[in-house]
């Protein structure tokens, strides 16, 4: 059989392959836009947000609209790009916004020493709920608002913790 003859419909195979690629590409673009501009699930783990978040990992839904509109407030749990390693994202709670004064225990494991700092304009002060095991603004200082990537909306997994996070 002549492979390049009319027996095998190369034209229509190519056309169908192209159409399917177009559909997959469109879907991936939709996924990207939704994850970047609307909301995205994220896996977080670690002890720094105990007891709010679990040590062994939670899947949270982060919305990516409010931080672009400037609607982040003290008390929100946010997703923040780490100022120490830009390839990692952190999940911490906003304690103070730019212009506010924040008082914090510097090293609760070893002493009771407290410090008060004014957060610079355009920055936020983030802390983990578990101040004994959290690397946050107490170590690396206030972070620029431009590093905030999203606000945590609710927990999706594990199912027995499903719902809004408690304050």
């Amino acid at each position: 059989m002549n492979l390049f003859g009319n027996a095998v419909p190369w034209r229509s195979i190519a056309k169908e392959a192209l159409e399917r690629t177009a559909i997959v590409t469109r879907f991936l673009c939709l996924l990207h836009v939704t994850n970047t501009y609307i909301c995205t699930p994220t896996l977080v783990y670690g002890p720094s947000m105990l007891p709010t978040l679990n040590l062994t990992g939670d899947v949270l839904l982060a919305e990516r609209v409010s931080h672009r509109l400037g609607k982040v407030r003290p008390g929100d749990v946010v997703l923040v790009r780490s100022p120490v390693d830009p390839r990692k994202s952190l999940t911490k709670r906003v304690v103070a916004m730019g212009g506010d004064k924040v008082t914090f225990v510097v090293d609760p494991r070893n002493s009771d020493r407290v410090r008060t700092i004014t957060v610079p304009r355009g920055h936020v002060w983030i802390q983990g709920d578990n101040i004994y095991a959290s690397r946050d603004s107490r170590q690396f200082g206030a972070v620029p608002y431009g590093l905030v990537e999203g606000k945590i909306l609710c927990r999706v997994w594990p199912l027995d913790g499903f719902g809004l996070l408690h304050h």
Partner: protein
């Protein structure tokens, strides 16, 4: 009935183009205009037209930058503004500040300066800034046509020889 499906077809096409364009401009490359003269003479040498440059986003995958790269980043003081400056020091490098202090750039941060030091608001005023603020690296000038060219890295020898990290992050 015919108009409704025509309208729907047009909307779908626009939506597709919009989504694909947004994805490309977020993940791969985009074109931005430059205002201000803090990077003269590399960009905007005269005050008549603004340069348009190609910004690539592949560098945001692993955050590998080199001394002398021109980058666009969100301002640390106002997240809505974006600035364009040249990287002068990477994490772990030492840099000399205007007060003649010598400062070590913390990990995860970098030091930027404008080529035109006289009229440039950069790390000499707001200090080293986190790499996470970078939004892309400038590779080419695309407009005006007579200035179309690759953008080269330009290093100068202001760094002291104490560099205990390799050149890229």
């Amino acid at each position: 009935m015919g108009t409704r499906s025509l309208l729907w077809d047009i909307t779908k096409k626009y939506l597709t183009v919009g989504l694909v364009g947004l994805t490309i401009s977020d993940r791969y490359a985009s074109i931005v205009s430059i205002r201000g003269s803090s990077m003269s003479p590399a960009f905007n040498p005269g005050s008549d037209t603004n340069d348009y440059v190609l910004l690539e986003k592949f560098c945001l995958d692993k955050y590998r930058f080199s001394d002398g790269d021109v980058v666009v980043f969100s301002s640390p003081n106002n997240h809505k503004e974006k600035h364009i400056k040249r990287i002068r020091a990477l994490p772990g490098d030492w840099i000399e500040t205007p007060n003649l202090d010598v400062l070590k750039v913390p990990e995860g941060h970098f030091w930027v300066e404008g080529d035109n030091s006289v009229s440039s608001l950069d790390s000499r005023s707001f200090g080293p800034i986190p790499l996470g603020l970078i939004r892309g690296r400038v590779t080419h000038i695309v407009w005006p046509p007579k200035r179309m060219d690759r953008v080269e890295r330009e290093t100068n020898q202001r760094l002291s020889p104490i560099q205990d990290r390799p050149k890229f992050y």
